[in-house]
C-alpha cells in the first residue's frame, strides 16, 4: 500500500499496520479462560430453561399434565406453545425479492404439532439447568406420530405429506435463471457431459453452543439480551417486533462469542421462547444449547441434489451450463434471512469463474420433516463450485484435454472487467488467470505428476484436483434489505481519542473468534497514527456501537473496516486541527505517527497525543474559542456501485486413495485467493485454512444422517465426524490482491473462500486418483463406503 493509492501515511511508518501480521489482541484472553461468553454472564434470580423436544419427525401432541414437572424441586414454571402465543407473535420467513416464496407461520413453541425431531415443544424453567431437565423429563405429553416427509425427491410428488396444508404443497421457492438458448446450444454442441452431484447435509458445530440470557426489567421496560449472535441489531429488531416492545427498549449484548460460521445469525424459536418467558416473568432466563440440542436444532445446510450438464466445443470452449438443483430445507424457512438463499446462490454462482454464453439453472426448494437449513459459511458456494468444477473436469476428460488447460481457456480474462456473468452477477475486478499462475508457482506440478505415475505403477492411487471459485462478499441491501428484512447492509464506526491519547473504536460489526476486532484495531491505529496497543475496540452491544449489520457473508473487513478507516481518518484530521491551533502550524504540515504529532516533512516530534489530550480536555480555556473540539468521529459505509464485491481464487488438492479400504489421505492442499486489500496476512491465512478445513469436513466427514422416519442418527461428536487436525493436509496459501475501488480500504471478504473451493478440489483429486480404475464419486461426503461402491468393491 502507498500514499498514492489510499491516501494513508507511508508504508514504512511504524504504525502502518494495514497489510501487517499483527497477532490478535484477544487471543490471550481466550486461551487464559478470561473470555465472557453468554453462559459466563451471571445475573441474580436467573432461571434456566430446558426444553422438551419432539422425539418424532412429525407428530401431533397434547400436553396432558405439567403438575409432576412443577413438583420437581427447583422447577418454577412450565410454558407451552399456547402460553407463549399470547406473548410473542408468529413470524413467516420469506423475502419479497425471492418471488413466490412461501413458508408457514412459526412460533416460539408449536401449539399442537411438531414438524422435526428435536423441535422444542414445552419449556421448563428452574433454578438450575439440571432441575429444568428433570422437570422436562417429568412432563406428561401424549404423542401421535404422523407420517413424515423426509425425502426431498418425493416432496412435490403426489402422495407427499404436505407439511403445512395451508400452503397447498411443500414447494417453498423455485427460481430459474436463463441466458442464451440452452436447448439449442446443447443440441448442437461437440460434447455434452452430465453428472449427478449430491452435497451432504451438515452443520456448523460451533465450540460454544447457542446461548441466550434474556433479562426483562419491568421497572424501566427494558429487555437486555446477552446473546451468542453475529447480528445483534437484527436480533434487537426481531425481539422488539415480535414481543411488542419498542426497539429502543431492547438491548442486545454479545461479549465473547465462541464461533459462529453462520449458525448464530438466525432467529431460533427456542431462543425467542426464552426472551418471551423473561418478559412474562420479569426475571432473567438463560438457555445454553447442549451438544444434543445443537445437532438437532442448530441450522443445517447443503442438503442438495444437483443434476447438471456442461456443453463444450471441440477446442474446449465452454458453451454452457444447465443445472437443476433440488434442496430440502426442513419444515420452515428460517427467519428472517430465509432458507431459500442457499439455493438462490447456487443459481447465482454456477459457472461463475468462466466465460460462456448459455446458462440455465433452476433451484427447487422444498419443505421436509428434518431440522431447518439456512445460511452456513460460504452459503451455496461449495455446492456451485463442486457442480461447476466437477463438470469442467468431466469435460476435460471427455475431450482428452488437461483440466488446467481447459480452465485456462475459459476462465474470464483478467482484463475483461467490469463484466456481468450469464447468471447476472456483476464483477468489478477478478484475477482468475493471475491466481492460476500464482497457484502453479506453488504447486510442484511436474514432481506431482511424476510421483503420481510412479505410484500408480506400484498400485498406489494418488490424484491432483483443482477448483476455481468466486465468492460473494460485501453485500449491499440487495441481499436482504430489498426483500423487506430489517438487516443493515450499512455499518458504522465511532472512533474517539481519550485524554491520555488512547483510542476507542466502537463498531457495528462483530467478533466471534475470527479476529474482527484485531483488524479493526489495526485499521484504526493505522488511520489515526497510533500504536495498535493504544486502540481498544468495542463491538457487540446495540446500546454502545453504531447501528450495523454485524458479521456475516464476509462483510466485517470490507464494510466494517472501511467505516473504521474513515472514522479513524476523520479523527486524525480533527486531531491535526487541534494540534495546529496548539502548535501554531498548518494542520496539513503535521502528521500523527505512533501517538505523536510530528512535522509531516521531517518527522520531528512536536507533541505526544497525551499532551494534546491533557490540554484539550483539562485546559480547554487556553485554546481558541471557535476551535472544534470533537475528538470523536463517526463514519458509516455502504457499498453503492455493486450489489456484491466478488472475490475469486483457485485451490488444489493432492490426495491418496486406498482403493482397498476406500480411505482418502489428504497429502497437500493449496489455495490462492484474492480478497482485495489484505489487512492482516496472518488472519487471512487463518481464515483460508480454517475455511478449507470446514470444506474438507463436508467433503469427507460431516454428515447429518437421518433415517427414513426422520430420526437424526448423528447426535454426538462420536457419530458426527468433524475434521480433526491429524487428518488435515499441509496447507499453503497464496494471494493476489485486486482491491475493490468502491472503498479506500479496498478490502473484500476472506472468510468463506476456503470453504467455497475445498470440497470441489478434493472431489476432483479423488476422481483424478480413481480415473485409471474407471471409478468416479460425486456424492459428498466421499466416505469409504461410497468410494468402495464406486470401485465396485462392495
Amino acid at each position: 500500500m502507498n500514499e498514492i493509492t489510499i491516501g494513508l501515511s507511508r508504508e514504512d511508518l511504524p504504525n502502518s499496520y494495514i497489510g501487517r501480521s499483527v497477532p490478535r489482541p484477544s487471543v490471550a484472553k481466550l486461551v487464559e479462560g478470561r473470555a465472557t461468553y453468554t453462559d459466563d454472564v451471571a445475573l441474580p434470580r436467573t432461571l434456566h430453561a430446558a426444553f422438551l423436544r419432539s422425539p418424532h419427525a412429525h407428530a401431533r401432541f397434547t400436553v396432558r399434565d405439567t403438575e409432576a414437572a412443577l413438583r420437581v424441586p427447583g422447577v418454577v414454571r412450565v410454558f407451552t406453545g399456547h402460553d407463549l402465543a399470547a406473548l410473542c407473535t408468529p413470524w413467516v420467513a420469506t423475502l419479497e425479492h425471492l418471488k413466490g416464496m412461501k413458508s408457514a407461520p412459526q412460533r416460539p413453541l408449536p401449539l399442537d404439532r411438531a414438524t422435526w425431531q428435536g423441535e422444542a415443544v414445552v419449556a421448563v424453567l428452574a433454578d438450575t439447568r439440571a432441575a429444568a431437565e428433570d422437570g422436562a423429563l417429568a412432563l406428561d405429553v401424549e404423542w401421535e406420530a404422523l407420517p413424515a416427509q423426509t425425502d426431498m425427491e418425493t416432496a412435490l410428488k403426489p402422495g407427499a405429506v404436505v407439511i403445512h396444508p395451508e400452503l397447498g404443497d411443500n414447494l417453498a421457492f423455485r427460481r430459474t435463471a436463463t441466458h442464451g438458448d440452452v436447448d439449442a446450444a446443447f443440441a448442437t454442441a461437440h460434447r455434452v457431459v452430465e453428472a449427478r452431484f449430491v452435497t451432504g447435509r451438515h452443520t456448523g458445530v460451533t465450540l460454544e453452543g447457542r446461548s441466550i440470557l434474556a433479562d426483562f426489567n419491568r421497572a424501566d421496560g427494558t429487555l437486555t439480551v446477552h446473546h451468542a449472535t453475529q447480528a445483534p441489531h437484527m436480533i434487537q429488531e426481531v425481539l422488539a417486533q415480535h414481543l411488542g416492545l419498542p426497539a429502543g427498549k431492547v438491548r442486545v449484548v454479545c461479549k465473547d462469542v465462541g464461533g459462529s460460521f453462520g449458525i448464530k445469525v438466525h432467529v431460533y424459536p427456542d431462543e425467542m421462547a426464552v426472551a418471551a418467558m423473561s418478559v412474562a416473568l420479569a426475571r432473567p432466563v438463560k438457555f445454553v444449547a447442549d451438544r444434543f440440542e445443537s445437532f438437532s436444532s442448530d441450522i443445517h445446510a447443503r442438503d442438495h441434489r444437483i443434476l447438471a450438464r456442461i456443453a463444450v466445443a471441440e477446442d474446449g470452449t465452454i458453451i454452457g451450463f444447465d443445472v437443476d438443483d433440488l434442496t430440502g430445507i426442513g419444515p420452515y424457512s428460517v427467519y428472517p434471512r430465509t432458507s431459500a438463499v442457499e439455493g438462490n446462490q447456487v443459481v447465482n454462482l454456477c459457472g461463475g469463474p468462466y466465460r460462456f454464453e448459455h446458462y440455465r439453472c433452476t433451484t427447487t426448494v422444498v419443505l421436509q420433516n428434518k431440522a431447518a437449513t439456512c445460511q452456513y459459511r460460504a452459503v451455496g458456494h461449495p455446492i456451485a463450485t463442486a457442480v461447476t468444477e466437477g463438470l469442467v473436469d468431466l469435460a476435460a476428460e471427455a475431450l482428452g484435454m488437461d483440466p488446467l488447460e481447459l480452465r485456462r481457456r475459459n476462465l474470464i480474462a483478467d482484463d475483461a472487467y467490469p463484466t456481468t456473468s450469464p447468471a447476472g452477477m456483476r464483477f468489478e475486478g477478478l484475477s482468475h488467470h493471475a491466481s492460476l499462475d500464482k497457484l502453479l508457482s506453488m504447486v510442484p506440478l511436474d514432481r506431482i505428476r511424476a510421483d503420481q505415475a510412479e505410484a500408480r505403477a506400484r498400485g498406489v492411487f494418488r490424484g491432483l484436483g483443482f477448483a476455481s471459485f468466486i465468492e460473494l462478499t460485501n453485500p449491499s441491501p440487495f441481499m436482504y434489505g430489498i426483500g423487506g428484512a430489517r438487516i443493515s447492509a450499512q455499518d458504522g464506526c465511532t472512533v474517539r481519542m481519550d485524554p491520555d491519547g488512547s483510542v476507542v473504536a466502537a463498531s457495528g460489526v462483530t467478533e466471534q473468534g475470527q479476529g474482527t476486532e484485531a483488524i479493526l484495531a489495526q485499521i484504526v491505529a493505522h488511520g489515526v497514527g497510533v500504536s495498535v496497543g493504544k486502540v481498544r475496540v468495542v463491538t457487540g452491544d446495540t446500546l454502545a456501537t453504531p447501528y450495523g449489520g454485524g458479521t456475516w457473508a464476509c462483510r466485517g473487513a470490507g464494510i466494517g473496516g472501511e467505516a473504521a478507516l474513515q472514522g479513524a481518518l476523520a479523527l486524525k484530521a480533527q486531531i491535526l486541527e487541534v494540534a495546529g491551533a496548539m502548535l501554531q502550524a498548518r494542520p496539513e504540515a503535521l502528521d500523527v505517527v505512533m501517538g505523536e504529532v510530528v512535522d509531516r516533512a521531517t518527522g520531528t516530534p512536536r507533541m505526544p497525543l497525551g499532551e494534546l489530550g491533557r490540554i484539550l480536555y483539562f485546559r480547554g480555556d487556553t485554546l481558541p474559542k471557535d476551535l472544534p473540539r470533537e475528538l470523536v468521529q463517526t463514519r458509516h459505509y455502504i457499498t453503492k456501485e455493486y450489489p456484491f464485491a466478488f472475490t475469486n481464487g483457485i485451490q488444489a488438492s493432492w490426495v491418496e486413495v486406498d482403493t482397498d479400504t476406500g480411505m482418502v489421505t489428504l497429502l497437500e492442499h493449496w489455495c490462492v485467493e484474492d480478497c482485495g486489500r489484505i489487512i492482516n496476512p496472518l488472519l487471512v491465512d487463518e481464515q483460508v485454512k480454517g475455511g478449507i478445513v470446514q470444506g474438507i469436513g463436508g467433503a469427507l466427514y460431516e454428515h447429518c444422517l437421518y433415517d427414513e422416519q426422520g430420526n437424526l442418527l448423528t447426535t454426538t461428536m462420536a457419530d458426527y465426524l468433524v475434521p480433526m487436525a491429524a487428518e488435515m493436509p499441509e496447507m499453503h496459501v497464496g494471494h493476489v490482491e485486486t482491491p475493490t475501488r468502491e472503498s479506500l480500504l479496498g478490502a473484500k471478504g476472506a472468510g468463506e473462500a476456503g470453504t467455497a473451493g475445498a470440497p470441489a478440489a478434493v472431489m476432483n483429486a479423488i476422481n483424478d486418483a480413481l480415473r485409471p480404475l474407471g471409478a468416479r464419486v460425486t456424492e459428498q461426503p466421499f466416505t469409504p463406503a461410497r468410494i468402495l461402491a464406486a470401485l465396485g468393491r462392495i
Binding site: 444434543f292 479400504t661 466427514y701 448423528t714 465426524l721 491429524a726 466416505t783 469409504p784 468402495l788 462392495i794
Partner: protein, 270 residues
Amino acid sequence: MKWPATSYRRASSLGDVWQAFAEGGAGVQLLAGGQTLLATLAFRLSEPALLLDITRIPTLRGIALHGGALRIGALTTHAGLGRDPLVARHAPLLAQAVPLIAHPAIRNRGTIGGSLANADPAAELPACAVALEATLVLASAQGERRVPAGEFFTGLLSTALRPGELILAVEVPIGRGGSITEIARRSGDYAMCGLALVGARPVFFGVGDGPVLARGAGAALARGDVEAACAALDTDLDPPTDMHGPPAMKRHLARVLLRRAAAPRQEQAA
C-alpha cells in the same frame, strides 16, 4: 444434558466395595477412568444411585509376571499399558493397541478394566484379550473366579460379570506376539473394522456385538491358506449395518485387514 443426581463415594479397599454392593445393590456403579461412564451419565443413559470410585484401591493396580502369565491390574490405564516394559516384552500386542485407542487425554484416564467391563464391540482391548487367550480375574465378596476372555464377552455391551463382582486383573499368556490393525475414519475413532491376529486366531472388532473370533478363517490360516481364510469370513462374520456402511463393506474391510495382516507372515514363511 446434565447428569442425574447421583452420590459419589471413594473406596480404598475391596472391602469398601463389597460393603457398598451389600448396601446399594444394583444402584452401585463402579467408576474407574470414567471415560465411558461419565459420558453415559451426561446422556442420561444410566442413572446410578452411587458412583463408587475404585481408582484408589491398591490391589487393582500393578503389572507383574505371575506364573507364566503377565498379570495386569484392572486400573492400568491405556497410557500406562503403552509404556510398560513388561507389556512391551511379554504382551507386545497390547502395547501396539494403545495408540489406536482414542486420544492421549482419554488414554491417560481410561483403564483396561473399564474397557473390558464395558465390552464395546469396536474396542481394541477386548479383541486383544480374546486373541491372546487371556484370563480375566474376577472378584466378589464370595471370592475370586477366573474366566477365559473368550467366554467373558457375552453380547452387545454385556459380559459374564455378575452383580457384585468386579475385574481384579487380566492375565495374559506371555510370548504370544501378534498384530493389531484397524480402519477408522479419523485417528482415535472407534474402528469401522479392526483385527487382532495372534497366530491363527483372528479376532475382529467393530463388526459384531463384541469381539468376534473368526473360527473358519482361523482354521484356513492354520493351513496357510489366506485366500480361503478371507472367503471363510463370509460365514464367520455377520456384521450389522452402521453409519459407516452396509454389512458388505464391513466384510470387505475385514478381508482387506486379514490379507494385510497375514501377508507378512506368509512372506516370513516363504
